[in-house]
């Protein structure tokens, strides 16, 4: 007993047992329904893209860790989530090298250069997609991506169609179809119901913050309703916006990314609402068909500014007795 060396650490000596691995594992679980649906709908190429995206993201993480002689941190699965989300946002026909470049940009430029986990001011996946979109928009064009596919529904990307052809196309997309994934889009971004189920699962498990999700959706609905009420002819109805494009994925999985979103209640509400608002603004008066990616990046950008609104700390402002 004399020579036994004890472990010495600081209090507390208990831990809730939560971990990053748990968090990311749950993220992956929550993404499963939408991803499975995508594979089911778009077939083997979709499976290929998802696998490649996930694995290449993890690989980049390992490579960068080796290059910079840091501890390899793939065990926390953070890069798997980044990769899978990336895969879910792109069309199934995306060439392999685009996927690999995209995950490189996402993992390295989005996350690694900022010091890895917890350091990224923006959502890494969105950084990847946004840069790809600027470089190679053609590969992210859902209308051309699926020309060789046969679908039993309107094979038009709803938002792009809305942008180019106006509200006349709205009749081709029923809310039910959008919710059930009967639309073209990213592999995992079409199955609205699946995303909602996954998102609610995450909220219940405590891994995403419900305030952001709710405010985000509220932002979309309120802004879209305002536009729609003012000019029903030029603008699409709110539910169409909510269920089309990346909106749901953004609300449930992208805007809630820990490191780039606020943690205090009021900021979370402002953040979410602003995100929803910007999406509708871009869709209705901007040049991009979907605005989710840039809108979420924009709220990521203002996150540090608004996250200073916080409840008063205990005793703050109490004068000395």
């Amino acid at each position: 007993m004399t020579n036994t060396k004890l472990i010495v650490s600081h209090a507390p000596f208990w831990h809730s047992g939560d971990s990053l691995f748990q968090q990311n594992l749950n993220f992956l679980i929550a993404l499963v329904p939408a991803a499975l649906f995508g594979i089911f709908k778009f077939g083997a190429p979709a499976l290929g893209v998802l696998t490649l995206a996930t694995s290449s993201a993890m690989l980049w993480e390992v490579i960068m860790a080796i290059i910079s002689k840091q501890k390899i941190a793939i065990a926390d699965m953070e890069s798997a989530v980044i990769g899978l989300l990336f895969g879910m946002m792109v069309p199934a026909t995306m060439p392999w090298w685009v996927v690999i470049t995209g995950t490189f940009v996402a993992v390295v430029l989005g996350k690694y250069v900022f010091g890895g986990i917890g350091g990224n001011p923006f959502h890494p996946t969105l950084v990847g997609i946004a840069i790809l979109m600027m470089s190679w928009p053609a590969f992210l064009d859902f209308d051309t991506a699926y020309v060789s596919y046969q679908f039993d529904f309107t094979a038009l990307a709803p938002l792009a169609a809305l942008k180019s052809q106006g509200t006349s196309v709205l009749s081709s997309f029923s809310t039910y179809d959008l919710l059930m994934g009967n639309e073209v889009g990213g592999i995992g971004s079409t199955f609205g119901l699946g995303i909602i189920i996954g998102g609610i699962y995450l909220i219940l498990r405590g891994y995403t913050r419900w305030e952001i999700v709710v405010a985000f959706i509220a932002g979309i609905l309120i802004t879209a309703t305002l536009f729609y009420v003012l000019h029903p002819d030029t603008y699409a109805p709110p539910l169409f916006h909510l269920f089309s494009g990346y909106t749901l994925l953004g609300a449930f999985f992208l805007a809630v990314e820990n490191s780039s979103s606020p943690v205090h209640r009021i900021p979370m509400l402002v953040y979410g609402f602003l995100g929803g608002f910007m999406i509708i603004l871009v869709r209705n008066i901007g040049i991009y068909p979907d605005g989710t990616i840039l809108s979420i990046l924009l709220i990521n950008l203002i996150n540090p500014l608004i996250d200073v609104i916080k409840p008063k700390a205990l005793g703050k402002g109490v004068s000395h007795a």
Binding site: K5, L6, I7, V8, S9, H10
Partner: protein, 694 residues
């Protein structure tokens, strides 16, 4: 063309008038240095310093919030110019460097397993860190994280290594280190660092009177970095060639290997690198801090004076040495015979010191040729008195002044300076110290038939170096122990004929633990000799107090042994601007002690010259030992034979004065260096089973 000129004329004039008026109307006083500093910044207003523009940066510098090196764009000259404006004196403007004090903290055992914030500071807060060593490196690299210039790296041995080329001396590492291991020091501070009780010091380094970082230079020898080893020694000791030859190496007594095995031959390693430099044909450059414009006079060019002059010069002061003898070196030139320290070697060594820009005036005697007032009048700001101890004690017996009687140092110096000395055939040297041995060995070489050493105690009590006694024995010297001279017997011509002595026996041990010799009544014996040299110790020569006409010199207090009274920590004397050191401060002692004293005096002089209080080093170790560093046994040591000092065989050496001891060959030196355990305060490297793995 005309409109253009007119227009520009108009605009220019307007701007000029407006600005010049504005500068009068809206004049606000500000520290004029701000404008000066701003003029010396890059002026790019780039914001790279984190301040809003150059004037903001200049203000921050002038108000002392930032260092003169704030501007990232500024050139070196610019930084210097700014430092000058800020009145940072040149001595402090010298570039500081980070300096690691603990080399191998990971060798100390752990007391617990740590879990928590990965930083030294955090771990230090938990029971002082997981290492058993209280002063050693914790090893979590706070200093490395703190360095913005990438100048620190975790070395393979678990302690941070500083890359001097990248270090800018910002001090961030020092602030980050909870253990005070990384210290950012200017050259001056490094040169004037003295051992303190909280330093991570090996026993040998604690023992060395010159406070040389012994483990460091041995590990440098081990790594083949001989030049670095020389530099390390020179941080503390400018006379490494001499010390490498004559030092009785007290450090080896404390060597931990010595507890289980023979101690490492530290001094031979010193001599090895010192000779390496000398034989390499070129001198390793010695850096000096920028000039401070202060002048110091060093009286006495012996080891203490040379050491003091060397350190003062390196920290930027101007130094002149005055010596009464024709050549510098003092006792090591005139008291140590050629066969122990060849004059050629000494000349080379002293030249290296003078080459730093030190002037030497020889054959000028203090108190006779010049005095205190002349030094003060010549603008010297401080004086170091290292006048040594040259006046031999007399035996105090009858017949001491007969022809053929000499005094030790007097005789040695006469011989060394080439004066003609009448020699006899047989000689008796009274005394047991090193001077006595030097005399006998010299006489033996001069062809005397019989040379006796007469000492009143036994061999065990002889204060001379054991190796010297041994060499004397080898060379056939006769030892007469337990003999107290009572009379020198002269013949009719007044020449020495014999030495009468009384036999002694050892009595009860006295306070110092030595058994006192007690005379045996009626045991008078006569030794037939025609030369008697008494070498029973010396004292400084206080005659300058009488000959110097300056009244002030009377204030210089002497002790009853005629040494100059001084504060042993600062070596300041009773006259504030006079400092002392070496034998004149301590009485006859070791060369290396004098060198250490010279450096300590240099520190005090530096403080004095900079107008700071001359205070002792805080927590000074000075002669003390760190208790936890003194071991009783050392585990994991396989005895390995100590390198034997190569020397000229006895039959060859008695014919001439050639150097007896030789330098270690490189392979042996390396093997010897490998025996070093690279100790620190409590940790050391045990021998591994496979020496290659080390």
């Amino acid at each position: 063309m005309i409109p253009a000129i007119l227009l520009m004329l108009g605009i220019g004039a307007t701007c000029g008038i407006v600005l010049s008026l504005a500068s009068k109307i809206f004049y606000v006083y500000e520290d004029p240095r701000i404008a000066q500093v701003e003029n010396n910044l890059a002026g790019a207003n780039c914001g790279g310093c984190g301040y809003a523009g150059c004037s903001a940066a200049a203000e921050a510098i002038v108000t002392g919030k930032e260092a003169p090196s704030l501007c990232i764009v500024n050139s070196k000259d610019g930084v210097e110019a700014v430092s000058r404006i800020m009145g940072v004196d040149a001595g402090e403007a010298e570039a500081p460097l980070s300096y690691n004090m603990c080399e191998g903290g990971n060798r100390a055992a752990d007391k617990y397993h740590y879990m928590g914030v990965s930083s030294c500071k955090a771990m230090d807060a938990v029971y002082g860190g997981h290492r058993v060593c209280t002063v050693g490196c914790i090893g979590l690299g706070d200093c490395i994280k703190a360095c913005k210039f990438g100048a620190l790296d975790m070395g393979p041995d678990g302690y941070p290594v500083v890359d001097d080329a990248k270090c800018v001396g910002c001090g961030a590492c020092q602030k980050a280190c909870p253990k005070d291991i990384i210290q950012v020091k200017t050259l001056t501070e490094q040169l004037l660092k003295f051992n303190q009780t909280h330093d991570p010091l090996a026993p040998c380094a604690q023992t060395c009177p010159a406070e040389i970082n012994i483990p460091k230079y041995i590990s440098e020898i081990k790594a083949g970095k001989y030049a670095e080893a020389v530099q390390t020694i020179r941080m503390r000791n400018p006379l490494l060639l001499s010390c490498g030859r004559v030092c009785p190496h007290p450090c080896e007594d404390m060597c931990r290997r010595g507890l289980e095995d023979e101690p490492v031959s530290i001094n031979q390693l010193k001599r090895f690198v010192a000779d390496y430099e000398m034989n390499s044909g070129s001198r390793i450059p010695i850096t000096c801090a920028p000039d401070t414009g202060k002048k110091v006079a060093v009286i006495g060019g012996g080891p203490a004076g040379l050491s003091c002059a060397y350190f003062l010069r390196r920290i930027g002061h101007q130094v002149d040495i005055f010596d009464a003898m024709p050549k510098l070196g003092g006792i090591i030139r005139y008291g140590i015979p050629e066969y122990r320290l060849p004059k050629k070697v000494l000349d080379w060594e002293i030249q290296g010191i003078l080459d730093l820009g030190i002037n030497a005036f020889t054959q000028v005697k203090f108190g006779v040729d010049f005095g205190l007032s002349s030094l003060v009048a010549s603008g010297y700001n401080a004086i170091f008195m290292g006048i040594g101890a040259w006046s031999d004690y007399a035996l105090g017996i009858e017949g001491e002044n007969l022809d053929g009687c000499y005094k030790g140092i007097d005789w040695l110096s006469k011989f060394a300076s080439g004066q003609d000395i009448k020699l006899g055939k047989t000689a008796a040297i009274v005394g047991g110290g090193n001077s006595a041995i030097d005399c006998v060995r010299t006489l033996k070489r001069l062809g005397l038939e019989k040379v006796y050493i007469v000492y009143r105690r036994t061999r065990k009590e002889m204060p001379a170096n054991a190796v010297e006694i041994h060499a004397a024995e080898e060379e056939g010297i006769d030892f007469v122990f337990l003999a107290a001279p009572t009379r020198v017997i002269g013949d009719e011509n007044g020449k020495v004929k014999g030495l009468e002595y009384l036999k002694m026996e050892l009595g009860e041990p006295d306070k110092s633990g030595r058994r006192r010799p007690v005379p045996i009544e009626g045991s008078e014996t006569v030794l037939d000799v025609d030369m008697v040299i008494s070498a029973i110790s010396q004292a400084p020569d206080p005659s300058f107090k009488d000959t110097d006409p300056t009244p002030k010199i009377k204030d210089l207090e002497l002790t009853r042994w005629n040494t100059i009274d001084n504060n042993p920590e600062t070596l300041q004397t009773s006259i504030p601007y006079i400092f002392t050191g070496g034998d004149s401060a301590t009485g006859p002692s070791l060369v290396v002690t004098a060198i250490g004293g010279g450096r300590r005096a240099a520190r005090a002089i530096d403080l004095f010259l900079k107008g700071k209080p001359v205070e002792p080093v805080e927590n000074s170790l000075l002669g003390k030992r760190i208790p936890e560093s003194i071991f009783k046994n050392v585990e994991g040591i396989t005895p390995i034979k100590r390198a034997k000092m190569p020397e000229i065989p006895v039959n060859q050496r008695l014919d001439s004065m050639i150097e007896v001891d030789l330098v270690l060959p490189e392979d042996q030196a390396l093997a010897e260096a490998d025996r070093c355990l690279n100790c620190c305060r409590i940790c050391y490297n045990p021998d591994t089973e496979f020496p290659i793995a080390k």
